[in-house]
């Protein structure tokens, strides 16, 4: 996305240009930077607000309190962006900017802005950029495990930090509308995911397609919100049956999720996926014409990604749900759970 649109999104979400400068010139940060940004945000709060936004690290109910649904239907806890002052909202965005890659940060802003577009088009107050919540589990630390949560409609970011290790799993991204106009430009929050998936499918030969394409409808995410701890049998075409170029395309596609986090940890995650690429599967369900509403799944030993257009209430290409999980390390459990 170009810089102008990024700046517009940030300003609309309540931050000043300083936040954008931070993402431009210091993209992401080591854990110390994320801790500093979080402490800076917490310092802007009064005691009552701090009591609402910080949870015990062992609070399993809060850890799992995320959803694709709007906040009026699925109640979040923490602090609502619409209840914060402008400097406080800026401070929240600075935390996200520190934890995420520039493209990950832009994606999150675009998802939030899509919900604002939905609000404006339908006149419903249950949508919009005010309806996103921030919360933390544990104490921000460069050594001890803690967690950042940010979410609302079509967004559930769960970032677990343990020293310099960080996990984004499980996290939900989605968009409705999945394409909209802003300042005369077309914005597609999940556009790269869509385009790269169709490019990979197009690269498959007939025999590979027979393996990859499932002959039944996938009507929703299988391992979406609320499905913690479940694992399914992989289906589709196995990485070992792909060419080297196709494997790179598969990794590049997965990078749209792993790359939401800061580059250093995203690269480590992708390297882990690369090691397991022969055991990583790609499955497709639905039409194969470019740009149509189709489901796909990437599943390997340390990753599960699903992309599911929602077929109800209009054009399914304009309403997307996705999920990103790590069956071995959701919520970073391998770093802290005994």
């Amino acid at each position: 996305m170009n810089k102008k649109i990024a700046m517009v999104l940030i300003v609309l979400f309540g931050a000043g240009l300083n936040s954008f400068a931070q993402t431009n010139f210091a993209p992401g940060a080591p854990t110390a930077g994320i801790v500093a940004a979080t402490k800076k945000f917490l310092a802007t709060l009064d005691d009552a607000q701090r009591g609402k936004v910080v949870f015990d690290f062992k609070d399993e109910a809060q850890r799992k309190r995320w959803s694709n649904l709007p906040t009026a239907i699925f109640k979040r806890q923490g602090l609502r962006m619409g209840d914060l002052t402008k400097p406080q909202r800026e401070a929240v965005l600075a935390v996200l900017a520190a934890a995420l890659s520039p493209q990950g940060y832009e994606k999150i802003l675009q998802i939030v802005e899509a919900d604002e577009v939905l609000k404006q088009s339908g006149g419903q107050t249950i949508f919009g950029r005010d309806e996103y919540y921030v919360s933390f589990l544990g104490v921000p630390s460069i050594t001890e495990p803690w967690m950042i949560q940010f979410g609302g409609h079509h967004l559930g970011l769960n970032i677990t930090l343990a020293g310099e290790q960080r996990s984004l799993a499980p996290s939900h991204t989605g968009a409705q509308p999945a394409i909209y106009e802003l300042e005369g430009k077309t914005v597609r929050p999940l556009g790269r995911e869509t385009d790269k998936a169709f490019a990979l499918l197009s690269s498959l030969n007939e025999a590979q397609r027979k393996q990859a394409i499932l002959d039944f409808q996938m009507r929703d995410l299988v391992l979406g919100p609320g499905r913690d701890g479940q694992t399914i049998q992989p289906e589709g075409i196995k990485g070992s049956a792909l060419t080297e170029k196709q494997r790179e395309m598969l990794l590049d596609l997965a990078g749209e999720w792993t790359g939401i986090l800061h580059e250093a940890v995203a690269k480590a995650k992708l390297d882990e996926m690369r090691k397991n690429i022969a055991e990583t599967w790609f499955a497709w369900s639905g039409p194969t014409e470019k740009g149509s509403a189709a489901y796909f799944r990437i599943q390997g030993p340390t990753v599960i990604i699903e992309y599911a257009p929602q077929r109800l209430g209009g054009d399914a290409t304009k309403h997307i749900h996705t999920i990103y999980r790590d069956p071995t390390n959701d919520y970073g459990v391998k770093w802290w759970k005994r």
């Binding site: 649904l69 039944f216 009507r219 929703d220 299988v222 599967w281 929602q310 209009g314």
Partner: protein, 198 residues
């Protein structure tokens, strides 16, 4: 009773707001009953983990089948009765022979939560199979429960036992019926290959 009515009234503005939304704008699964089943095959039997999520527009029809006395709460007897209703609509076969299902766990959220479209009923059924012989087997599941309003997902869980390897999954177009082919080996195989699909 008073408490139940109060709870229902508290939810009324939200429910009305949701029902007032044009479906093209609020395009979540509002007019369908999502029935997602995870099938776990084990050496001694099969477990079905079923998540049932009614959309806003069909929630009342589903609740009517559960909360029989309409008091706004789901009693233990009502939960058991609904589980029995669901069980009658499920047919599980191992190598062609019907397996008897037994309810082993359930969690019902209150009707008020079901009405929001975010509430999920969770049920687990288990079936004991006769001892599996070494070699290929076929498990089939058919779900006929409230078919007019439902969409289905059927997926095999990744086996927890290396002696079981899923070799193929097939479903009908709407996933109300599924077939899982698997092999059972008495000894742990040297290579624990993941499942495949031809």
């Amino acid at each position: 009773m008073v408490e139940a009515v109060t709870r229902a009234l508290c939810r009324l503005p939200l429910l009305l707001a949701l029902l007032a939304l044009p479906s093209a704008v609020f395009a979540h699964r509002d007019d369908q009953y999502l029935q997602a089943t995870l099938v776990a095959i084990e050496p001694s039997g099969v477990r079905l983990q079923i998540n049932l999520t009614p959309g806003v527009a069909v929630a009342e029809q589903v609740i009517a089948k559960i909360d029989r006395n309409r008091n706004g709460a789901i009693s233990k007897n009502e939960a058991v009765a609904y589980a029995e209703l669901l069980k009658r609509d499920l047919t599980l076969r191992m190598d062609g022979r019907i397996l008897e299902l037994k309810l082993t766990a359930s969690e019902f959220v209150p009707p008020a939560e079901l009405r929001t479209g975010s509430g999920t009923i969770q049920m687990e059924f288990s079936a004991i199979s006769s001892p599996l012989g070494a070699g290929p087997h076929k498990l089939t599941l058919e779900n006929r429960h409230l078919s007019v309003m439902s969409v289905y997902l059927i997926n095999a869980a990744q086996p927890r036992f290396a002696t079981i390897q899923i070799t193929r999954q097939k479903r009908n177009q709407n996933q109300s019926a599924g077939e899982i082919e698997f092999t059972f080996q008495l000894l742990r195989p040297k290579i624990a290959e993941s499942g495949a699909r031809s």
